[in-house]
Symmetry: C2
Subunit: 182 residues, 2 copies
């Protein structure tokens, strides 16, 4: 069998336990893994086909009235494939942070405007913090432990980042106090 991509494992992970439609999977992704692994319809639907052909999931038609709806569940092979992947050491780690990029080039601006970038970044973090908090409230205690650990990790990281912005702002003000009054 061909190598599966990570999005395939996102699907396997979400159809494990209970059957899901492509639409449901997309909604689950958008409220959870999307912060560290996004997936679009353009990936999900073709991937559901491939996984079905590979025998890792099976679909059943469960129409609602006259609207067709296919839910997929994981097969024994699929479970095994998922576990095998989970046992491999993770590779990919990527980030795209426009804030850090701007900060990196901030020497092109007068000092005061460089500080403004740090303030924007902090505000951005705080906004994300609220979104994650809302998700945390939504999920009860009922979940498997690991998704909650990851969510709490996201909250901690976001807080850490916001504080880093604050610290760097203070540090720059200390380093050039004569610019303060400008």
């Amino acid at each position: 069998m061909e190598q599966l991509n990570a999005t395939a494992y996102v699907i396997l992970g979400f159809v494990r336990g209970e059957p899901r439609s492509g639409y449901e999977i997309k909604a689950l992704v958008d409220n959870s893994t999307r912060f560290f692994w996004a997936a679009s319809y353009g990936q999900i639907y073709p991937e559901l086909k491939r996984l079905t052909e590979a025998g890792l999931i099976v679909g059943s038609d469960v129409p609602t009235g006259s609207r067709k709806r296919t839910v997929y569940e994981i097969t024994a092979d699929g479970e095994e494939e998922l576990r095998a992947w989970l046992r491999q050491p993770p590779q990919t780690f990527e980030m795209r942070d426009e804030g850090l990029l701007k900060l990196f080039f901030a020497d092109a601006l007068p000092r005061e405007e460089g500080l403004e970038i740090l303030r924007s970044m902090k505000a951005q973090r705080l906004a994300i913090y609220e979104r994650l908090r809302a998700i945390e409230q939504m999920k009860g205690e009922l979940e498997d432990p690991f998704p909650m650990i990851v969510l709490r990790g996201g909250l901690e990281f976001t807080q850490w980042f916001a504080q880093w912005c604050e610290r760097m702002e203070a540090q720059l003000l200390d380093a050039a106090p004569e610019k303060r009054s400008k």
Copy 2:
């Protein structure tokens, strides 16, 4: 003028100060912004053309022997465009972390193997820490302050992440001490 993408500003940022070839820009990116904003040759060379057409940079041919070489420098318009972008609040923030993804689905594994994911993630962070340290050593004190602030931030973040992995491992061992001896 059409909207520029972030890669265009990476180029503007790097040709500011001194003229650079496409090859040099790629090398600079790979040792700095690549950790939060990567760029490939496939983006850089076409972008150099677009920026030239837009009058934001100008190229001059500086051949070495019979090998052609074009270095680009920023124009006054380019400087202004860069500063205008730096003043906009940053938007994009994305992450793809295969480790967090695996951790999220770790309930599919026996507890001990879930802990193994955290150990791999920690090891991965420590490896990145060493790479960043090497870059820090390489750069002297001579730089503009902001690139160094961002680099040190990367080091701090990497350390924080490694410690988080450690803490989560300990927490899980505490929560299920009966599994410890398995």
